[in-house]
């Protein structure tokens, strides 16, 4: 039954639609209007139910090229997950260590991890870019960025 990719995705979408619909039907009613906030979401939810059923039954018209796109070597999947991890760590530390420090570390290690071997260029870029951007945003544009552990 779940032979094709379309069918698997269709079930995921059905679950999403069901979840969305349950929340929609539980929205509190607003007494002073006939046209309440749940009107459009109800339509959207049922439309998604309908479309996922269509997706379940239509023939999989995927081309070879599209299937090929999904064929990612295991090594690259690990790389992708690692970069995602670094981004999450970046966000987590942003307001603790401050914009300049975290960004410099992130740019340096991320590009090093992805195979950029020129250490000196990398070090210069990863320090100059965040500092310039930080100055530009805080001094010229008056948009505050997290200062963190650095004194300026």
């Amino acid at each position: 039954m779940l032979r094709t990719m379309n069918r698997k995705i269709s079930l995921i979408l059905l679950a999403l639609a069901a979840f969305y619909l349950v929340m929609t039907y539980n929205l509190p009613a607003y007494t002073y209007t006939e046209i309440d906030a749940d009107m459009v979401p109800k339509g959207l939810g049922w439309l998604l139910v309908f479309l996922s059923i269509v997706l379940f039954f239509i023939k999989d018209s995927e081309t070879e090229e599209q299937r090929e796109r999904r064929n990612i070597p295991k090594k690259e999947i690990i790389t992708l997950l690692a970069v995602t991890g670094m981004i999450l760590l970046y966000i987590f530390l942003l307001e603790i260590l401050g914009f300049v420090a975290v960004t410099a570390l992130f740019v340096f290690f991320c590009s090093w991890f992805l195979g950029y071997k020129k250490f000196i260029t990398n070090a210069i870029v990863s320090i100059v870019f965040p500092v310039v951007l930080y100055m530009l945003f805080t001094q010229f544009l008056r948009i505050e960025l997290p200062q963190g552990i650095l004194p300026f």
């Binding site: 959207l44 479309l51 796109r69 992708l80 981004i87 966000i91 740019v107 991320c110």
Partner: protein, 494 residues
């Protein structure tokens, strides 16, 4: 007073040495700020307001027009080079601009964008001069049902933005529409799908979705492909050369979209975004080779760039003649007017003709300066693509992060950015197109509001959409433009 006399005065003000100098400063600063992550014309104008303190009002406003144009152009560069649209008006630019840049033609793509912007801007300024007073009254007669029809027409783009499966494109759009229903409903105040999380009360910011689905998802692809050197023709990245044939391709979209973009820009709330999308679809529909769209088509890049700039001038119509800002950007601009002691509205043209026409004349000037200043800069701007891949990837991630953080100041939005990045990446893998998602997200909110406002007016009677001639026409057009591509598809298969 004769308009001719006013126009002459206006041109004298704008084309003085002082006027030219301040337009140049405005365009340069605008372009620069527009290129920065997350900052569009709104922030550019807001930043420049304090600088105009104490300036002569006409000079100050002339500079602002330059900032506005510059920022719109600056936004296109990040769409084209990095697939990172910083404002919604340049999302459609990335559809063909980014593929073109990937094929080693970044300089050319930027040059086409500059020329298309110039044409759209200039033609629409002429239209603005001729029609400003008359158009203003049409724009305010656009009621909720007509807006609903307009948004619907914009949404029919979905059928033509799909690469293969229409079902998948529709699913992508429905989920995008669902995403915009998150937050406090503006009409009833009901919290929808917020899970009680205060970060979601105002809904998800456009930038989170645009940078996530486009820029961050693209980073995923770049990481996998970081070793193969598909940017083969590195030396020519900065070449501006446009061939005769390409120029011929540009002519059609430029002449049509200058007009279409202008008229859509006049409507409050519609503006540059919807103009760029409608321009894109329209050209795709009438093109002889629609299959080239999305793969680096000259026409596909020219259309939205012309339309969004034309709409930019169109947006000045309600602002100058009625004093009503039709978009976030013109609202900030209205603020700039007030700071300088100028009250836009019906009386502006009568009482301060030198300012009214000075601004319009400075828009001509702004367009010319934009072209003259930016064309020589393109080779340097497009060198961005010569940065080694691993470093570029890290910088694009940083660029997206700072863009989102600078407007929301919350790490919650950054986590959302990652979430939408992952979603965009998965959508690519499973051949769900991202453009319908963002289109539905941008138009969905306005569509829902105008739909419900109309029904509230009519006490739930759906006939209201068919009673006004404007909305009836727009709805019929939407139905036709949705059905035609499907019929064509069926014919091809049979």
């Amino acid at each position: 007073m004769g308009s001719i006399e006013g126009i002459m005065t206006g041109f004298q003000t704008a084309f003085s040495l002082e006027g030219i100098m301040f337009v140049m400063i405005g365009v340069l600063v605008g372009t620069f700020i527009g290129m920065l992550p997350g900052l569009g014309p709104i922030s550019a104008i807001a930043v420049m307001i304090p600088i105009t303190f104490g300036m002569d009002p006409s000079t100050g406003l002339i500079m602002m027009a330059g900032v506005y144009y510059g920022a719109v152009f600056g936004g296109s560069t990040s769409s084209i080079l990095l697939n990172a649209p910083g404002i919604s008006g340049t999302v459609a630019t990335s559809f063909d601009g980014y593929p073109m840049a990937q094929q080693g033609k970044a300089g050319k793509a930027l040059a086409i964008a500059a020329i298309a912007s110039f044409t759209g801007g200039t033609v629409s300024v002429v239209l603005l001069m001729i029609m400003a007073p008359a158009l203003a009254s049409v724009a305010i007669s656009f009621g909720p049902p007509a807006y609903f029809g307009l948004m619907l027409l914009g949404l029919t783009a979905i059928a033509s933005l799909s690469e293969g499966s229409t079902t998948k494109a529709l699913i992508s759009a429905v989920v995008g529409f669902m995403a915009v229903t998150i937050g406090i409903d503006p009409q009833t105040g009901t919290q929808r799908f917020t899970f009680g999380n205060a970060n979601l009360f105002e809904g998800i910011d456009f930038l989170v979705i645009a940078l996530g689905l486009f820029a961050i998802a693209e980073v995923g692809k770049l990481i996998i492909a970081r070793h193969d050197d598909s940017l083969s023709d590195k030396r020519n990245v900065g070449s501006l050369k446009i061939t005769k044939e390409e120029l011929k391709d540009m002519r059609g979209p430029m002449s049509r979209q200058s007009f279409v973009g202008f008229f859509l820009g006049v409507l409050p709330g519609a503006g540059a975004t919807i103009a760029s999308f409608i321009g894109y679809i329209m050209e795709k529909k009438i093109a002889k080779k629609p299959e080239e769209f999305g793969k680096g088509s000259v026409k596909g890049l020219t259309a939205p760039e012309t339309a969004n700039n034309a709409a930019t001038s169109g947006a000045f119509v309600p602002l100058l003649s009625l004093g009503i800002p039709g978009s976030g950007t013109t609202a900030v601009l209205l603020g700039a007017f007030l700071v300088l002691g100028v009250q836009p509205g019906p009386l502006l043209m009568v009482e301060r003709p030198e300012i009214f026409w000075g601004i319009i004349a400075s828009m001509y000037l702004g367009n010319i300066v934009l072209l003259v200043l930016n064309l020589p800069l393109i080779p340097y701007i497009s060198k961005i693509l010569n940065i080694p891949r691993p470093l570029l990837i890290a910088l694009v991630i940083m660029f997206s992060m700072i863009g989102v953080y600078a407007i929301s100041f919350s790490t919650f939005d950054l986590y959302m950015l990652v979430l939408f990045g992952v979603l965009g990446f998965l959508m690519r893998l499973f051949a769900f197109p991202a453009p319908p998602f963002i289109l539905a997200f941008i138009l969905g909110g306005m569509l829902e509001q105008s739909f419900r406002q109309s029904l509230s007016i009519s006490n739930g009677n759906f006939m209201i959409f068919l009673e006004s001639p404007i909305s009836l026409t727009l709805i019929i057009l939407s139905v036709l433009s949705f059905i035609f591509p499907l019929l064509k598809l069926r014919k091809k298969k049979a």
